[in-house]
């Protein structure tokens, strides 16, 4: 019972945040609702027993990646977005289509998937066990992602540094 209440409560925050992301027209509001989604997803991970992932989700996703988004929005001083004049065909076909798809998937998952119930903390994802997997079984992917991160850092530095001509200031001879 306790488990179900927790799941429903944080699931509701997730759903509300995701919908709010779509509805809001100012990017900073969208970013904040995305942060709410991520934080409550961290609690859902905890319900499933993924303790280490819970911490990583908060530190990396909610605490680092989304801070980058918020800083970018602040830096570019992004205003409200112009509403896109969506075509009528998209509304007429899209909304019923999305509804039918949702119902179909929900019905299949609820009544025909033969999934079992998951007890609280079903699989202990404590740091020790994760580390064993990460540094032993998945060592090669781990090293490859670390190289990927390095490349991403260099790419970000190259992309954001101003072109040499601009950095030198206005040319005197031209």
């Amino acid at each position: 019972m306790f488990h179900l209440i927790l799941f429903l409560f944080f699931g509701a925050i997730c759903v509300a945040g995701a919908v709010n992301l779509l509805v809001q027209s100012h990017p900073i509001n969208s970013a904040l609702s995305l942060i709410a989604v991520m934080a409550s997803l961290a609690v859902e991970y905890l319900l499933l027993g993924a303790e280490f992932l819970n911490a990583v989700q908060v530190i990396v996703y909610a605490g680092a990646i989304m801070v980058l988004f918020v800083i970018t929005i602040m830096l570019l001083n992004a205003g409200k977005e112009a509403s896109s004049g969506g075509s009528r065909v998209a509304i007429v076909l899209g909304i019923p289509g999305a509804l039918v798809g949702t119902l179909l998937i929900g019905w299949t998952l609820l009544f025909h998937s033969n999934t079992r119930a998951v007890p609280i903390g079903a699989l202990k994802g404590d740091p020790r066990a994760i580390a064993q997997l990460l540094f032993h079984d998945f060592l090669l992917p781990f090293e490859i992602t670390s190289v990927l991160i390095l490349i991403a850092i260099m790419g970000a530095v190259v992309l954001t540094s101003r072109p040499a001509a601009v950095a030198r200031g206005p040319r005197r001879d031209g």
Binding site: I28, L32, E51, A55, I59, A62, A64, I71, M74, P127
Partner: protein, 338 residues
């Protein structure tokens, strides 16, 4: 333990810890004013109570009765939410910090800690990284150029130094083999304090901690001479007080963490009757934390402020490589010794 007892004990512990934290933050302000005054050959607060000890109370009353200004052009929801966010995450991390050892009150026994998690250290790091939002949103929603610059500076500085802060602690984690704060302290018994094995990690941690809490010599986000007051320029009354308390709470947390990670936490000589045995660890812990708080104030009133590009270069080009080198050396030595 039934679930009701558990909830009641947890509630009592949480309330007690929040009370202790707020008091500690208030008296750090008093300490700061007093020590800075003596450094500058003044007296500091003396009027309210003996040695000005009731000054924090008077300050609090003053904050409550000040007019709460909300500017016309601020973005109101975020303007109000920002101090709440800052305060909330400043208070969260205290939940996993142990103040002392096992105590017994009548039939009940408990650790002097709200909860011991096997991801305890990550909780502290997570809540400090979430605390950035309070600063960033305050700067953005105030709709003022000083606030925006202060907020941008603060958030960039905090996420930069968070990296070296976290990496400086990895050496300790390798030696203790656990992320639980209690286990890390217990691994330092018999004066095997980590400061003797991890001096480089400690120095990197201490410097990053100053930057992480926006304290001098890294207090550029609120550099008075250029930015008025940085991200909280437009705040007044209790909203300003919340930022203020959050800053001092963060200082206390960081000082507690330094004590626990490098100076053996509550460990120290213990003896005498049971009641003294239960209380002595708490006293050792408080003394060590007090030392770090004093160091904070001392450093602030001794060192001049950095320039912003110097600050960033120092973080990324000196502290980060040092922390990484420390990890590599520690890991090699631990692996070599088996």
């Amino acid at each position: 333990m039934s679930i009701t007892t558990f909830v009641i004990i947890s509630l009592i512990k949480s309330l007690a810890v929040i009370f202790v934290m707020m008091t500690a933050a208030a008296y750090s302000v008093w300490l700061e004013r007093k020590v800075s005054a003596h450094i500058q050959n003044r007296w500091g607060p003396t009027k309210v109570g003996p040695f000005g000890l009731l000054q924090p109370l008077a300050d609090g009353v003053k904050f409550i009765f000040k007019e709460d200004l909300v500017e016309a052009n601020v973005y109101k929801p975020l303007y109000i939410a920002a101090p709440i966010i800052a305060m909330m995450f400043a208070l969260t991390s205290i939940a996993v910090i142990p103040f002392g050892n096992w105590v017994e009150v009548g039939p009940w026994g408990t650790y002097l800690q709200v909860t011991d998690l096997n991801i305890g250290l990550l909780v502290i790091l997570g809540s400090t990284s979430m605390g950035v939002y309070g600063v960033a949103l305050a700067g953005w929603s105030s709709n003022s150029k000083y606030s925006l610059l202060g907020g941008l500076r603060a958030s960039a500085q905090m996420i930069s130094y968070e990296v070296s802060l976290g990496l400086a602690l990895v050496g300790v984690l390798i030696m203790a083999g656990s992320l639980s704060v209690r286990d890390i302290v217990n691994a330092q018994r018999h004066l095997h304090w980590n400061i003797f094995f991890q001096p480089v990690g400690f120095v990197v941690y201490l410097i990053s901690a100053y930057a992480e809490t926006n304290r001098a010599p890294f207090d550029l986000p609120e550099a008075e001479s250029e930015l008025v007051a940085g991200y909280h320029t437009e705040y007044s009354s209790m909203k300003f007080a919340m930022f203020f308390v959050a800053e001092y709470c963060n200082m206390v947390t960081v000082a507690c963490l330094a004590t626990l990670m490098f100076f053996g936490g509550w460990l120290g000589p213990v003896g005498g009757p049971p009641i003294v045995q239960a209380l002595l660890p708490v006293i050792w812990f408080c003394l060590k934390v007090f030392f770090f708080m004093f160091l904070y104030v001392w450093v602030r009133w001794t060192l001049p402020r950095f320039r912003y590009d110097q600050l960033m270069a120092f973080g990324w080009k000196i502290l980060l490589p040092l922390a990484l080198a420390n990890i590599v050396v520690t890991a090699l030595i631990v692996a070599w010794r088996g």
